[in-house]
Subunit: 426 residues, 2 copies
């Protein structure tokens, strides 16, 4: 392998890279190889200026008037449409608001309401045992709330966890209300076939919710082509919106005027300024909003979105697969014999844009890497996770990162180190 | 009256004002008299710098490491404790997170769960017809969700609207689950007796939730002395946290380990990084969090909070009453005969920190005022609303604002004007 790949050859490929210029759109610190953009994307050029404009001009000078004059009020739908254009959404189907957890709650609650009419008796929420925990917790929380009322009556909602596609297909049946899956798994980087699984769910009479946290901006997504019912996701990973930037929810147009979701804040009302005492949901995706949004954090999302819109997803995906292939190859050849075990699918069709290895000392190894400027992250149990983001990583970055990993493993320095490397995001 | 009050006399009083120096802590635009701090507080000095630090240093340089190194992970509880200290809360009872609407949903859902055990059969949520609409909508949304399960069984949650204290006390009974009130009314500025009402609710076997959106930072609040059960509120009004800055929730310690609230995102888990498949709520107020928070918008809250902590509430309240008295007097004398009708209580004990007048052409008058640099706002139906904020308004500011109102009314210019002055916040 080392006879085939060399840093020089990778340098040559980098010079021919059609996406190379995007690296300048991000302000990465010196001495850092950032392989954690799947957790928190880096600062795009222009985001600090946008924040300063919101704070000094729109807030400081415009004050309350900026709800109209600076377009704050339209931001969730305007950014939603821009984001939706990356996901095969039509205008009016996506809104940027709240958090992924909250948006999943809205989608689940809305789907269950639909099933109360279309499929009475369908009360099972199917999700993956290895889903990001919040996705399981939110389903449990909703089921528990509903069961607290239905307890005496035999009405019982259930969260069923499956481990793989065989179990998933076996679980689908006449009690299935909704399937909630992450398109790309936060830990392993494995990817579901969205269209195929959605079709199977629909055939069984269920609805499909897709969490795109590790997919939006990372892999090609076409929600309408896949006939998905709902999608949620975050903007601070591959979309580079900033720490904790608000999330999004997409709702297939066919569900938008059916029932309301229960987080019925004023911003989801049909006429929020009439101050009516009766709740009437907006006629469109705005009914999936709730309360007032954090304007400064939301405004910065647009800077990252504009970059994502500009970058052609076909090129991004091709480079992502090339870089993840390269990373896997280099780790398996140059770091061989140190017990790293790939847990990310080798098959392109099943791979997102991050690569994970199992190692019993994963935590210490990641800590040692971070000290050396290679920022990946650690996830229980014993998983080293590396985000491979084509917009600001090159082939030589991948080479250099693997060389530092090799050095850490060869010298065994990680055995003497312990750092806090747990991060607060999926 | 004009023989008693004059601009000169007010100037003299302003020079003796112990709070006068706080005006320099806010960056108000030239030519503006800002009487809308009850809707969106102005930009405090230092907030732009704090935002720039978060964006450029913590996000840009620290990247994912800032969840630990910059204290992002502890921010909701750390700011919660600081905010709670303004409200008679003990440490560990308050968290800054999500929106007021969402926090109200959590409080209501938690209270109803407690009543399912402590007071089975108690299924009525009492609230005020003139409450801010989102507070009513959220109660309706939760009741509707629960009723969708209970429908076939006769289990039925109900939202009961009351118009005044007599109706409120009459409504309290053995079906009362929870009372949800805004401490200060968003439209009229009238204030409930928190301790007295809470006592009455408890005597009837109910729980009390207080929305402090127009109270926190504006009037003295002592949640523990009042024996309140839950409180929610926002940080972008009298606390000057910035547009749409995250809200807060306070939970009396006696309720914190009872059940969970149903928005069970990862951040409310006892051990969020163990990635357990089973949800176990945190042992404290952190169980009232949900998903990842907007860091930049949240960080700026601290700048406003620090000012509020520094200003003595006793002085703030005394000046608030003096300025609201002055505003009412000047409007009623110098603008007499133009049909403005006070709808804010004259009694100090029943008044918050904003003053509202009814006028059939309220919308046009406010528009004309805004064009002249006096920023108040308009609320349906036909209400002119003016926030009187002691930290950055002086007696001469009040005088000048009323003089401009007088000019608008005398010249009748408002009759020819129409502007978009609806604002997106309570």
């Amino acid at each position: 392998m080392s006879t085939v790949v060399s840093r020089e050859k990778l340098e040559l490929l980098d010079r021919q890279d059609a996406l190379a210029s995007f690296k300048d759109r991000f302000l990465l610190p010196d001495g850092v190889l950032y392989l954690d953009g799947n957790s928190l994307g880096p600062l795009p050029a222009g985001a600090a200026e946008r924040a300063a404009e919101v704070v000094n001009v729109e807030w400081g000078q415009g004050l309350i008037r900026s709800w109209n004059s600076a377009g704050w009020f339209e931001m969730p739908t305007r950014l939603g449409d821009k984001l939706g254009s990356l996901l095969g959404a039509n205008p009016g189907e996506t809104v940027v608001t709240d958090t992924t957890s909250l948006n999943l709650f809205k989608a689940l609650a809305s789907a269950l309401r639909i099933q109360q009419v279309d499929g009475p008796g369908r009360r099972v929420i199917i999700t993956e045992r290895d889903n990001f925990p919040t996705d399981i917790y939110i389903a449990e929380g909703l089921a528990e709330l509903l069961n607290s009322v239905g307890a005496e009556t035999g009405i019982r909602y259930e969260v069923k966890l499956i481990d793989n596609e065989t179990e998933l297909r076996a679980a689908l049946g006449e009690d299935t209300a909704v399937l909630s899956l992450s398109h790309v798994n936060y830990r392993t980087g494995s990817m579901w076939d969205m269209a195929g699984i959605t079709e199977a769910v629909h055939e069984a009479g269920g609805l499909a919710i897709w969490d795109l946290a590790h997919a939006a901006g990372a892999v090609p997504v076409d929600l309408n082509a896949a006939k998905a019912d709902y999608a949620v996701g975050c903007t601070y990973k591959y979309l580079n919106g900033g720490p904790g930037s608000p999330a999004f929810i997409w709702v297939n147009a066919r569900h938008q005027d059916r029932f309301w979701q229960p987080l019925t804040g004023w911003w989801s009302h049909q006429a929020p300024f009439e101050m009516a005492e009766q709740y009437t949901p907006a006629n469109d995706v705005r009914r999936f909003m709730c309360g007032t949004q954090p304007v400064t954090s939301m405004a910065m999302i647009e800077v990252g979105l504009d970059i994502a819109v500009e970058a052609e997803m076909e090129l991004v995906r091709a480079k992502s697969l090339e870089l993840t292939d390269l990373f896997i190859e280099l780790v398996e050849t140059r770091c061989a014999g140190h017990g790293l075990e790939l847990i990310t699918p080798r098959e392109h069709g099943q791979r997102g844009s991050h690569v994970s290895f199992h190692h019993p000392n994963g935590y210490e190894i990641i800590a040692a890497l971070i000290e050396r400027g290679v920022i990946g992250d650690y996830r229980e149990p014993a998983v080293l996770r590396f985000g491979i983001t084509p917009l600001y990583l090159s082939r030589t970055d991948i080479w250099d990162a693997v060389e530092i990993l090799r050095e850490v493993l060869h010298t065994g320095h990680w055995q003497r180190e312990e750092f806090a490397v747990r991060n607060a995001v999926t």
